[in-house]
Subunit: 297 residues, 4 copies
């Protein structure tokens, strides 16, 4: 499999809900359009931010179809297809491929703790069922499973269409060790917003983030500054957006991004219960951050 062509800022979509709780495809279309117009280098539908875990099967299918039709190949797409069972993960991966996804993302979601063999075989099953690349996603905070660097290397070795790694532990040492172990040849992506400056400096191929829904120009400018090796500018841009990156990550992406989009004029509804809309205190804080960053948003 050739080196993946996905580099840069990968923007995550939210999944808008109407007042009656159904998926609001019209608003989804608008949010995708905003992301693409802002200049992100790729789009990632149905990720954690997209509340993929809270959708029914039929909702999930309608969102993936609609998203791919609206992206329409203008930028690459990475569809999150993770599910608790292997069978359903495979079905979702096949559906994503059929809809034209550039790649799929797989988190080793679990209820029971999985053995290493079970994890590897899960990736093998997905890999065997599709022809597009897989981005392995490590995020123990949401999945409950922490993939060690050694295990990631083993999966990279045994499942040939796993060609990308999204690291969200927040521990930069994982990236250092992936880089060293593969001679800088594996494409790794930063999934922890407040670590972005360092991850890019350490060699990350991209930044997986929901922040471009709110501050795309600042996100893209940070990416560009690092690419130009303009360290002074990169540091300044990073600290400028740091509090927002830290807050949306800590407080929860669907909750904060949906609140922020409404502040910016796009009503995408509330997250799905048990998740609740951002409370007044959080909203005031987020509003303050957005106002402060408004000039160069």
């Amino acid at each position: 499999m050739s080196t993946p062509q996905i580099r840069g800022v990968i923007g995550y979509t939210i999944t808008p809900f109407a007042a009656d709780g159904s998926v609001d495809l019209a608003a989804l279309g608008q949010s995708i359009e905003r992301l693409i117009q802002s200049g992100v280098h790729a789009i990632a539908p149905l990720g954690s931010t997209g509340e993929g875990a809270y959708l029914s099967d039929s909702e999930w299918e309608s969102v993936v179809r609609f998203s791919q039709e609206n992206i329409a190949g203008r930028v690459p797409s990475v569809v999150s297809v993770s599910d608790l069972t292997t069978a359903r993960t495979v079905q979702r991966a096949q559906l994503a491929q059929a809809c034209g996804a550039t790649a799929v993302m797989v988190l080793p979601a679990s209820y029971w703790k999985l053995t290493e063999t079970e994890i590897v075989d899960h990736y093998k099953a997905v890999g065997a069922a599709i022809d597009i690349p897989i981005m392995l996603y490590n995020n123990p905070g949401t999945s409950g499973t922490d993939l060690s660097v050694e295990l990631i290397l083993r999966i990279l070795n045994e499942v040939k269409n796993v060609t990308m790694v999204k690291e969200s532990t927040g521990d930069i040492q994982r990236m250092h060790r992936l880089y060293k172990a593969t001679g800088g040849q594996v494409a790794f992506y930063n999934g922890c917003n407040p670590l972005t400056l360092e991850a890019l400096v350490a060699g990350a191929a991209g930044w997986c983030t929901a922040a471009p829904n709110l501050i795309p120009q600042l996100n893209l400018a940070l990416w560009d500054a690092v690419q130009k090796h303009d360290l002074e500018q990169a540091r300044s841009l990073f600290y400028r957006q740091y509090e927002l990156l830290e807050y949306v990550t800590r407080r929860g992406l669907p909750t904060t991004i949906k609140a922020g989009l409404k502040m910016l004029g796009l009503d995408v509804g509330a997250p799905r219960l048990p998740l609740q809309p951002l409370d007044p205190q959080g909203s005031a804080y987020l509003k303050g951050l957005l106002d402060e960053l408004a000039v160069s948003r």
Copy 2:
């Protein structure tokens, strides 16, 4: 709501699968019958052991209907109805009640980290939708959410049909603090097998466990010894079954209980992928433990 009548050893059912992956209701009936004949004081269908998280909605519905019909009121039942969304948890709780469940169990399952308000409101929504008691279940190892003692007390206070607490952190101090804070009046249950001796001594009203699928007489004898204040006997019985309790808990309940049941003559199939059948090394170890305990099983 009156004090719950559920005391003693609460046996968890597995969910058998046929070779084609479908639910094997005939085997489920046999496993329920074994548990009831063994003398357990209550039955808990569709818990963690029952792979409830891995079932489709229609499978889940067929299992709860079939289980309640087969239990047929001979012992109380506690049906696990947890789901990632509040809406589906409510639906499952209502279905369990309609099928005749004595109580439901609710784990604050989550993908995104929930605020305390979101957790309380989740329990309130379930509580308002049903008339039977709720057993609150705290198990950060599977749910990713650790309910502090303070939060549990708040839920007990604000949601009147939450009358029981199943604690599975493995930290006996949680039970001490629940006991002290409620003057010994809240019914708490042990969900951590290798902590059973201590939890019962500390005042637990019951023991939620899948072990009676394999060694019911030892489990019940331990319960009885503590009730009779026969400390010498209780300690001896506990250490006798300790390694098995520790192993099935550490290695995963669906995996080990299904393997053990087959060794004991009841084929309930494999757990659902990504979970795999117990490997040869684990099987040999489990077989050794079961053989050793065979006399007084």
Copy 3:
């Protein structure tokens, strides 16, 4: 080495300081006398509670000499001799033996993380230098080093005068595993006050505690109830003293025991800086607990 004869409640001494910061031997004598008169089964000078880590070499020597003279063989004694260097630990152990200690206690104190070989060799060096038994002490909370059950078993095997284990992790599973691995033959002691009921039920040979400085009768009654297998009484006694046990452990033993002794009429001064006397809020809480327990203290 024969089975140690130390069983029961092992009372820890504080180290009183005069207003000028020097050791107050007169007050030390009184506190030792109080402990012995209360009926504790053994005395442990210079432990964590005794601020051994904060004493100069000459202070340490004067305290061990004075303590042993005042205990005068009326009960067994276990002297804590831990130091960051092996050389000084050996010197202290030899001095303790020369002064008549029944046994010494050794915590693998460390600044740099030690390898398993370094830990084993540390115990070997102490063991080779003395003829009395060693109580191995595991308390990662103060030492920074957590001795696994496997490593403890290795040390028990390789250093013949390590015959006792004091476990202070607060994790009852460590005691279960020690018990099972040695067929109940190793003498283990509880060092985590709020775990006492369970540790004794699980088979602990004793309870290492500073609480008898304040509530000796309750501590001894709990021990006796478990020895008589009176579970109802043991549970009741444990929960009665639970809040005090939990508080002194969590808030720090030198700080709280010194404050409590003053409330009970024995002025032993303040702990040594950076430790400060208990603040007014803590003092009010502790006073309330002591008053409540006063009848059966």
Copy 4:
């Protein structure tokens, strides 16, 4: 107090021991000379690497006197004066000042967990006793105490000669938050070798490290590359020395640096027991790393 003039690579000294266990001042002089000749920007005697915690008072005094005489003002010096008691920390700080130290470093070493007030008052006591700046040192791995960013800010605010912060948690977010909270005005230093690239990029004023005993040119070149904003070069230099930085940090600095110095021709003896010389396997690995880096050491 004016902004500290300490910037760049701050080299830590080891404390050489002769075969009889005594301090080997001649070798110490040679190791200081090597560091200064290599071009480090400052020297830090008696830190963790210098086994300060394992020295007697008189040894400590002789080392600080000798070190300061040999540094002779050619570069600034930061002497670690941490001790378990406040009194002895103050004495050491005063002695360091008397010997000509540019600044002192204070780790909140503890046996008993300290309250925030106790920690602040400890720094106040040291601050009041000397006229030179204090570098606050946060390293929960060795001290057992983790100073939150909020507490560090409070100490910076309340103790006027605390003007520098050495952060060794390995969590880059601490540096981000210090930077943001002080508008980039507090001088923070990286104490976690494998985080150096990122810490410098994030704005650290210096790098506290024992590595210049072995690979000074690579360390200094990395510092220089970041100062010149040469990101490509900085990344390349960092990954080149990464494995050595990671290994000496993980395996223990006195152990590995002493082994490495011997390989490079300077025999500084073994670390003090319980620390042992690097074992053969570790030595072979370290030798391989040093050989590989030899050209540009």
